[in-house]
Symmetry: C2
Subunit: 351 residues, 2 copies
C-alpha cells in the first residue's frame, strides 16, 4: 500500500473484540489507509498489535489523538464515544461510531449500506453503526420491503456472547469447563456486566440482553425496534423483539416473522428476491437440511437467510431464520463498509 495516497484511519477500542475485527477487516477488504492509528483506554495503551506484518503500539485515546485523522472507527463503549467523537469531528475526522451513543439522534445517520447508504449524504461528522442484531435483520428485510412493502415484524433472537465482549466469551468457555468437571460456576459478567445480578450462560439461555427499560423491554430489544424504523425509514412499522443470550461464542441467529403489504405472494417469490439481494446468502433447502447456523457463519461478512415459509393462517405473513457473524456484519464489517461508502460517495477527503 502506498504511503502517499489513502486515508488516515484511527480505530478507537483497538484491543476489544470488535476493534480487533475492525483492524482485520480494514486489511482484508483492502481499505485504502495510509496511516493506521490504534487507540484505547489508558489501561490497554502500550500493547503491541501486528497488522499485516507491521507492529503497532496501541496509544491512549485523547482529543489530540485525532489531529490529521480522516476517518475514526469507534468501538470502545458509549461513554468514550460521547467524550471523544465530538473531539475527533472538531479536528476534521469523520466518525463511524459502533456504540448506541448517537444512534437515535435525528441529525446523525444510522447506516447499513445495503439499506440506506444515501443517508450518508446528510452526515454532520458522526455516523452511527447500528446494533448488531438490527443490522442483519434489516439486510434481510430491505429487499422484501422494496418489492412487497412491510407492515409488521416480530423477532426472537438467539445471540452469541461475543456481543458482550471478549471477556464474556472467556466466561462462557470457563463456565463450560467447570460444568463438565462438575465444579461450581461463579458468573461475573453475563447477562450485563454493569447490572446487579449475573447468571450462568453455559448450557443455559438468558432472556436479557442489556438493561431493562420502564416498559418491560430490554434496551437491546428497544434498539432493534427503534433502529429498524429509523434505518428503513418506516416510522409506522410495527416491530417487536425478544432478545435472548445463548451459549454460542460467535454468530447471532434470529427467528423473524414479518407481514408484507401485498396479498397472494408466495414463499418462493421471497426466496427468489433474497437469492439476489446484496449482502445476503440464501441457504434454504429443507429437503437437504440446508439452513443457516451460527457455527457456519463465523468469519463471513454476509447475512445468511433460510427457513423461509409462508404463515399457515396469515396470507401476508412469513417466517425466516437469519444468521450472521455479529462481530463482522454486526459490527466491524458494517463500520468498514460505511467507511468504504463514504469514500465511494466522495464524502471523505484525504488530508
Amino acid at each position: 500500500m502506498s504511503q502517499q495516497s489513502g486515508f488516515n484511519v484511527a480505530v478507537v477500542g483497538a484491543t476489544g473484540a470488535v476493534g480487533q475485527q475492525m483492524i482485520q477487516t480494514l486489511v482484508k477488504e483492502n481499505f485504502p489507509y495510509k496511516k493506521l492509528l490504534l487507540l484505547s483506554s489508558s489501561r490497554s495503551a502500550g500493547q503491541k498489535i501486528v497488522v499485516n506484518g507491521e507492529e503497532y503500539t496501541v496509544q491512549e485515546a485523547k482529543p489530540e489523538s485525532f489531529e490529521g485523522i480522516d476517518i475514526a472507527l469507534f468501538s470502545a463503549g458509549g461513554s468514550v464515544s460521547k467524550e471523544l467523537a465530538p473531539e475527533a469531528v472538531k479536528r476534521g475526522a469523520i466518525v463511524v461510531d459502533n456504540t448506541s451513543a448517537f444512534r437515535m439522534d435525528a441529525d446523525k445517520p444510522l447506516v447499513v449500506p445495503e439499506v440506506n447508504e444515501t443517508d450518508l449524504h446528510q452526515h454532520t461528522g458522526i455516523i452511527a453503526n447500528p446494533n448488531c442484531s438490527t443490522i442483519q435483520m434489516v439486510v434481510a428485510l430491505e429487499p422484501i420491503r422494496q418489492k412487497f412493502g412491510l407492515k409488521k415484524v416480530i423477532v426472537s433472537t438467539y445471540q452469541a456472547v461475543s456481543g458482550a465482549g471478549a471477556k464474556a466469551v472467556q466466561e462462557l468457555m470457563d463456565q463450560t469447563k467447570s460444568i463438565l468437571a462438575n465444579e461450581p460456576v461463579e458468573p461475573k459478567i453475563l447477562p450485563v456486566g454493569s447490572d446487579k445480578n449475573h447468571y450462568q450462560i453455559a448450557f443455559n439461555a438468558i432472556p436479557q440482553i442489556d438493561k431493562f427499560q420502564e416498559n418491560g423491554f430490554t434496551f437491546e430489544e428497544m434498539k432493534m425496534i427503534n433502529e429498524t424504523k429509523k434505518i428503513m425509514h418506516l416510522p409506522e412499522l410495527a416491530v417487536s423483539a425478544t432478545c435472548v443470550r445463548l451459549p454460542v461464542a460467535v454468530g447471532h441467529s434470529e427467528s423473524v416473522y414479518f407481514e408484507i403489504d401485498q396479498e397472494n405472494v408466495s414463499a418462493d417469490e421471497i426466496k427468489a428476491l433474497l437469492k439476489d439481494a446484496p449482502g445476503v446468502i440464501l441457504q434454504d433447502d429443507p429437503e437437504d437440511q440446508v439452513y443457516p447456523m451460527p457455527a457456519n457463519c463465523v468469519g463471513s461478512n454476509d447475512v445468511f437467510v433460510g427457513r423461509i415459509r409462508k404463515d399457515l393462517d396469515e396470507d401476508q405473513g412469513f417466517h425466516m431464520w437469519v444468521v450472521s457473524d455479529n462481530l463482522l456484519k454486526g459490527a466491524a464489517w458494517n463500520s468498514v463498509q460505511i467507511a468504504q461508502s463514504l469514500v465511494k460517495l466522495g464524502l471523505v477527503k484525504e488530508k
Copy 2:
C-alpha cells in the same frame, strides 16, 4: 406401599431418558402402584433398575407383557406404541402414550390436565401425551384464553437436546469437550437421528427439530401448531412455530407472542392471572432481573413464565417467556399426571 391395593403399572421404554423420569416421578409423586413392570426393547432387556430401594429387571415388551396391567405409560418411540399400545388395550390396560403415534387421532384424547382433563372421559383406551414444547405453552396460555380469549400465537422455541434422547445429551457433552480441546467433532445424532445430515450442536443453534414437511415447517413445528388447537379446543386459532435446538441439556424455553380477544387489557392483568394459574410459577420482576431460565427449571414439575409485556403496537398483543423441564412437565410428569387424573376421575379400575 401395600401390595394389596393400588394399580399394576407398566413403563414401556424404561431405560430411556423419559422412561427413567417416569419411574422416578411415579415414586416421587406417590402414585398408588402395587406392581411396577419395566419394559423395553429386547436390546435393553435384562438391565437392572433400582426403584425406591427395590431392584427390578427390565423385561422385553411383548403383547403378553400387558396381562393384568391397569395403566401402561409408553415412551419407546412411535413404532413401538403403534404395535403394542393396542395390544395393551386389548388386555384391559389404559395406555398413556408419550409419542406422536396417536396424538391427532380424533378418537384419542390429547391431554394436559391443567387444560383439558375432562377430555379423559372420552377415552377409548389410549390417551396421548402431547409434545413437550406444546405442553408448557398451553399451560401458560390456557388461563389467558379462559379470561380474555385467544386469537393468535407465534412461538419461537429454544429447545434442549434431551428432547432427542439421552444419547443426544451425550453427543452435546462429547462435542463440547472436543471443541474446548480444539479437536474436530463428528456429529452423528442431532438434529434428527434418522435424517440424512448431522450437525454440530455444541456452541451452535440448529433450526431443525424433527423432519421437514412438504410445507417447509418441521414436524415438531406442526406438532406445536396442531396439538395446541386440539388441546385448547380452538380449531380456528392462528398458531405458528419456529423450533430451534440449543446447546442446553435440559429445559425448553419459548418466546411466545399471543393476541387475545379483548381490548385494553394490561400486562399486569396477565401477570395476575398467571400468578394463580395451576402448574404455573410466575417469575417476572425485570427490576431485579427475575425471569425463567432453563438452568433453574431442571427437576421441577412446573411451568415458569416471565418477561410478560404488552406489544408496543398491537393493543391485543403480548409477549412472554415460558420455560419448563422438558423431561418432566414436557413428558414424564404430564404422563403420570394423566394417570393421576384417570384415578381421580374413576376412569381406571384396579385389577
